[in-house]
Amino acid sequence: MATDHILEVENLTVKYGPIEAVRGTNFFVGNQEVVSILGANGAGKSSTLKALAGLIPHEGKITFLSKDISRTEPYKIPYLGLTLCPERRGIFPDLSVEDNLLLGAYAIRKNKNLIKENIKKVYALFQRLGERKRQLAGTLSGGEQQMLAIGRALMNEPKLLMLDEPSLGLSPKLVDFIFDSLKTINKSGTAILLVEQNAMIAMEISSRIYVMQNGKFAISGNTKDVDFQTLKMKYLGV
């Protein structure tokens, strides 16, 4: 196994009863790389991320930072530096913005100085959050909630950040802003594994893409080698 691969997945299978959502996929994420998994609804993208975070039963081998995490309990995974920013944001609506961030730092809760530093970093990246830190998260706008979800995921200093549909339900302008932030996050050294339906914007920031169809990868390769038009027509159904 190449040592510059932060995440290596072999033969990942996810089943919901008799239905196979993910059918034996193989992929990897390199150090400080941005990789996207694209595909239409129900292709198995979100299931892949949930399986990596240990949240759903799965088969196959998942290696993160040279450690086999296929059987690791979900609550232990963030401690290793692998953080999922869940679909539909999964923010805690009845907690304040700052409490949401503090919970994001649950895995590093012993290190108070680091938490303070990270909160500052998040507020520098998303100033809106800093302005609203006492507000209940449920009262934020959709865009702010997405910022909060990403900011919260950054709190425990992930080495690999997994994002599930960060563009969901946002205006084009906000989507641009969110993806610019992802670029900034990546530049500071965090690898990103992105699941997206919005293929165009995802391809802008990714070095490599995997296109998923019926639980398998139909296309994989460097972003610049993939023809966007064929991809759109054949696999994304738009």
Partner: protein, 307 residues
């Protein structure tokens, strides 16, 4: 310090009623039910789980305490702590399998547990079967004689201790993890919260508090039998939290006062308590959906929202 100040009026409450031991004993009962309802509040409002079997923990506490005091002549303080501990152990044993389900399923599982415990108690010799246990002595220590005033202050002190502990937890990292789990379990787990552990802790704490309340109940009433710990009690505990106001000891206290105090207030008149209580419940939930505690925060309606 400021958050403790609202307890001061409760220290003064019994003073005008010193000559009315019956009224004082109702205040004592309100306090006891407050403790049990706090146990329910921890489970529902804090952890987002539900139980309609908490009467079972109340019964476990009451019987543990009564049996230890009556049959084994154990000092009340030890019996009291033992009843909380035993209820907590039962809570963990039941919670481990039960908390794998949630929502309606958990409601049904806990209900079944509540009914089962009531039946089991009725079968055993040591619990006095369906006849129950009589003449449970009222505890007295040192200069404190067994009077309602003294019981009132003991119960108030216990509520105060619980309040301190709970408010500490609510501002701690564990409290944060618990609330996060309630809001979005998937996200909380994705950030490293061991959700089963926290759910179980909430269930155990709920059982322990309810058990402690049961112990106090047994010695305050002096007589216990299985019929006192039926489904109605479980539902009343849940309703106390909702009627009073979730997530606050003050609210829960108001809910307990409503459920315990109202029947006594109306007992002099020849009207059905159930009907009055039912109508009052509907009116409260219609006009004060956040519970009776809202009355005391009426000024909030005139303030501009800060956020």
């Amino acid at each position: 310090m400021k958050k403790y100040l609202w307890f001061i009026p409760f220290v003064l409450v019994p003073l005008p009623f010193l000559g009315y031991p019956f009224l004082l004993s109702i205040f004592v009962l309100i306090g006891i039910y407050t403790i049990a309802a706090i146990g329910m509040d921890v489970l529902t409002t804090w952890a987002g789980q539900i139980s309609i079997g908490n009467a079972a923990f109340f019964a476990v506490g009451a019987y543990t305490s009564a049996i230890l005091v009556v049959n084994f002549h154990v000092p009340f303080l030890i019996a009291f702590l033992a009843s909380g501990l035993f209820a907590m152990i039962i809570g963990i044993v039941v919670g481990l399998p039960a908390l794998r389900v949630s929502g309606f399923y958990l409601a049904v599982v806990t209900m079944a547990f509540g009914i089962a415990v009531q039946q089991i108690i009725g079968v055993f010799q040591i619990t006095g079967g369906y006849n129950g246990i009589r003449n449970i002595p009222v505890p007295s220590f040192w200069i404190f004689k067994a009077s309602p005033v003294y019981q009132y202050y003991i119960v108030l002190f216990i509520v105060f201790l619980i309040f301190i502990v709970l408010s500490r937890i609510s501002f701690s990292k564990s409290g944060l993890a618990l609330f996060a789990m309630r809001d979005s379990e998937i996200a909380a787990r994705a950030f490293g919260v061991n959700s089963l552990k926290y759910k179980l802790a909430a269930f155990a704490a709920s059982a322990a508090l309810t058990g402690l309340a049961g112990s106090l109940y047994a010695s305050a009433i002096g007589f216990i039998s299985p019929s006192q710990f039926d489904l109605t009690l479980s539902l009343d505990l849940l309703a106390m939290v909702i009627v009073g106001g979730t997530g606050s000891v003050m609210g829960v206290m108001i809910g307990a006062a409503f459920f315990v105090g109202l029947p006594f207030l109306l007992s002099g008149y020849n009207i059905s308590i159930t009907i009055i209580q039912g109508v009052a419940l509907i009116v409260i939930l219609l006009f004060l959906p956040k519970g009776l505690l809202q009355i005391f925060k009426i000024t909030d309606l005139f303030k501009k929202k800060v956020i």
